[in-house]
Amino acid sequence: MKKYDKLVTNAAGRKVPTIINGEEHIPFKGVGKYKPSGRKHATSIASCVDYPEDGNKVIPDLKEALIKAGLKDEMTISTHHHFRNGDLIANQIFDIAHELGIKNLRWFPSASFPCHEHLIPYLEDGTIHHIEGSMNGALGKYCSQGKMDGLGILRSHGGRYQAVQDGEVKIDIAVIGAPTADPFGNANGVNGEAACGLLGFALADSEYAEKVIVVTDNLVPFPAIPWQIQGNYVDYVVKVDKVGIPEKIISGTTQITKSPDRLLIAEMTAQFCEATGLIYDGFSYQAGAGGTSLSIGIYFSEILKKNNWKARFIRAGSNKYPVQMLEEGLADYILDGQTFDLDGVRSMRENPNHVWTSPFTSYNYHGKGNFASMVDVVILGATEVDINFNANVVTHSDGYLLHGIGGWQNTLFGKTTILPIPLFRDRIPVIRDEVTTLCAPGEMIDVIVTERGIAINPLRADLIEKAKESGLPVKTIQELKEEAEFICGVPEKPKLGDEIVAVIKWVDGTVLDSVYKVLE
């Protein structure tokens, strides 16, 4: 089987394959242009008579559960990243598959982390055929060098849900790591040693996978409350000593930045939002857990306090800073997609206004609407932006896969998307003539805030007008690019081959761009 075939130029002007790992895929048609018809995918019909009446689905170990679930060659195995770099489950699954001599599995994680470097030998020996999910660190390098047997597919969190609903990815076995579960399979992320907040990334898998295994180190008698994952979808429950390493689960940046340059960017971002009226009583925003984003949250709360306003809701990635805003009454709700520290976990457990969400509620393309487009201000990062405001979040300027897409593409649908980014990092300008990899069409990005000036997308004439009297250093994106090159010099192009190693999906499941092999 060829990794890919039948290249076409899509609506974004990028060359993409339409046959990927032997399956047909649709090229990007434009934002909001692709609307598939027909019916969603569904699992085989199950009957309760086939499951124990006492509700006890506990199996002695993961290996037996995987064998019972029918693990065999070429299956699709899904895992989730709510344990982040402290995940102990995914590696075990493939250790077992390797031991059983199983080949050509498709790994479908919601994201991978550096701890999954352990899986490289299984990519080499054919246990795993390819990965559909984010590839960072060593896995990113492995894929970028063209070593993977199949083509990598990167999707957003919302896009992953859509791919499952469309039957584009049929999950054979979903293995859900749970900080707390009962023998019936109800599970949550707020209690237990490995408490990580919520299990939203596993929701689609629990509903659509043929077989669902819940693995926990905190097995409690029925019922495990709250049941973020419902046991009615679960086939087997496995009790292990440890599902994750707590100190590595809490791996997001939980401190505000101390860098004066990043603080300046954060301050300018908040000033921009204030000057252009983006912040108002009852507004909503989404900010990540990076140091700069957190600092923006602090500046936002100062503006809210000063005006005696509050935010209606904060979309998060939560940690102690949004939690503090919630507890101080500066926000009514946190709608949380993942929790980055123990304050976040505690708040979610105890405060009914700190609500867990899932890619379905927040991002789902096939939902009858979703939260993403209701958010006023969205703060995101990027590795590169080009002079047409196209943005890249997955590859470094040298071409290597570096980050997953995460919820990044989905949140772009907020009313105003702002990228606060340094104009250059270690001499490498962030603003380029053309992004190495296209993850967001320029029409989705509204504002770029750098330490040396703010560029507003010409499509946002309203913001350009409002920013005129602000006294803030508004420049064109071309001017910012020239300034970066004056300081850093003009970089060469990365050395990329013609061979495609992975593709980037848009939120609707179409193929937005190709990632090319890096030549040494």
Partner: protein, 395 residues
């Protein structure tokens, strides 16, 4: 001369810098080995720069090793030249072009609320310093540079003066004491430095020696703009000699005090309240004003406590200081806000200036506001306040 030379830094935590070593060889031509985190995008340019510099110094056979952590060209060039000059004796200087924006002169009485110290051998801290908009940026060759790094720092500071974006900040250098300081001048005066800080001044002589060397270099290099001086008083003796130092020559634009060394000299501890330095600060202010120059306060060393800084700035302003030093970019805004004239002050100044303008128009010799006569120095000060308020967007 040795046949190996090296300069710069490498290792974890080092960014925007490079470590360059060179070894002269008997044969084999030029070999360059580059390790760089930006090799894909800038590798060719870095090698080209190395070749150009090696050629510039007429080296035929050598091996150069570069370990680069994203250094800009001016940093790389400084490291390469500092390494090369340990193995090759040469009077030549390898200079990158100096943009026009780094060639301007400054006025003697330019506002100098804030001046940010930058360690002279730390490129990482230099690159973005200008964006925080201090009134002055000090490339420090003195206390912030370790003794074994003094040599290479001169090349870096020289190149930074030429290439760094100062974003309108005055280009300042703090030189070393004594002979070393005079040698430092060779590296900065020909490259449009605006102001020299002279550390640990204890006599007019200290200032005059520096000034004479500067004037000699200006003549030799035909530099157009004046180089201003800011002597720093850092000892009990210096305080006693403050007026003599302030009035040592026409080029002295400001007199500064350095309290860390001063309190050590007194044998006491520096406190936030500053009672122990009240006399010294007053002496410096009084001497500076007697010599018609600016008085500049010491840095405030607790970079995490912005409230204490604000208090300190207010005290400083009330004592008569015109500005103070800072060691962290986040201090700049606090210093500016608290040195800035208050609305009441601005309003009063505006009325005085208006009265002065009316008096001028009507050809009156005396300016009066209401029933009060206004003296010329008060008018002058009011004009300055108005100018300042305008420049800070407060009018």
């Amino acid at each position: 001369m040795d046949n190996t030379g090296f300069a710069g830094n490498e290792g974890t935590g080092v960014r925007s810098d490079a470590r360059v070593s060179i070894q002269l060889l008997k044969s084999g031509g030029i070999q360059i080995d580059l390790k760089s985190k930006v090799k894909t995008l800038f590798g060719k340019q870095i090698i080209r720069l190395a070749e150009e510099i090696i050629h510039f110094f007429d080296i035929q056979h050598a091996r150069m090793d570069i370990v680069d952590a994203g250094a800009l060209d001016f940093v790389l060039a400084a490291r390469m030249e500092a390494a090369i000059k340990q193995v090759v004796s040469s009077e030549k200087e390898f200079l990158l072009p100096q943009p026009e924006e780094n060639k301007n002169g400054t006025l003697k009485d330019k506002f100098r609320f804030s001046r940010l110290y930058l360690p002279g051998n730390s490129p990482k801290l230099m690159i973005n310093a200008g964006i925080h908009q201090p009134n002055g940026l000090i490339l420090d060759l003195e206390d912030a540079v370790a003794p074994d790094k003094k040599y290479e720092a001169r090349f870096l500071v020289r190149n930074a003066l030429r290439s760094l974006r100062f974003n309108g900040a005055e280009r300042m250098v703090r030189i070393n004491q004594g002979e070393a300081g005079l040698k430092d001048l060779d590296f900065v005066v020909p490259h449009h430095v605006n102001l020299i800080l002279i550390p640990k001044c204890e006599s007019a002589e200290d200032v005059i020696t520096v000034n004479e060397r500067i004037q000699q270099l200006r003549k030799q290099h035909q530099t157009e703009h004046q180089v201003w001086l800011m002597p720093i008083i850092e000892s009990a003796l210096g305080v006693i000699k403050a007026y003599e130092i302030a009035s040592a020559c026409e080029q002295v634009a400001a007199l500064a005090i350095g309290l860390e060394d001063y309190t050590a000299d007194l044998g006491t501890q520096r406190t936030n309240e500053g009672n122990e330095s009240f006399f010294a600060r007053s002496m410096v202010v009084n001497s500076a004003k007697a010599a018609h120059i600016q008085a500049i306060d010491s840095v405030f060393s607790d970079v995490s406590d912005m409230e204490a800084l604000a208090e300190n700035v207010k005290r400083s302003k009330n004592l008569g200081f015109d500005g103070m030093g800072c060691i962290h970019p986040r201090q700049i805004k606090v210093i500016h806000e608290n040195f800035a004239p208050e609305p009441k002050e601005i309003e009063k100044a505006r009325k005085i200036v208006e009265a002065f303008e009316i008096a001028q128009k009507e050809g009156l010799g005396v300016v009066s506001l209401g029933s009060k006569m206004i003296d010329p120095p008060v008018v002058k000060r009011a004009m300055r306040t108005v100018e300042l308020a305008k420049s800070m967007g407060k009018i």
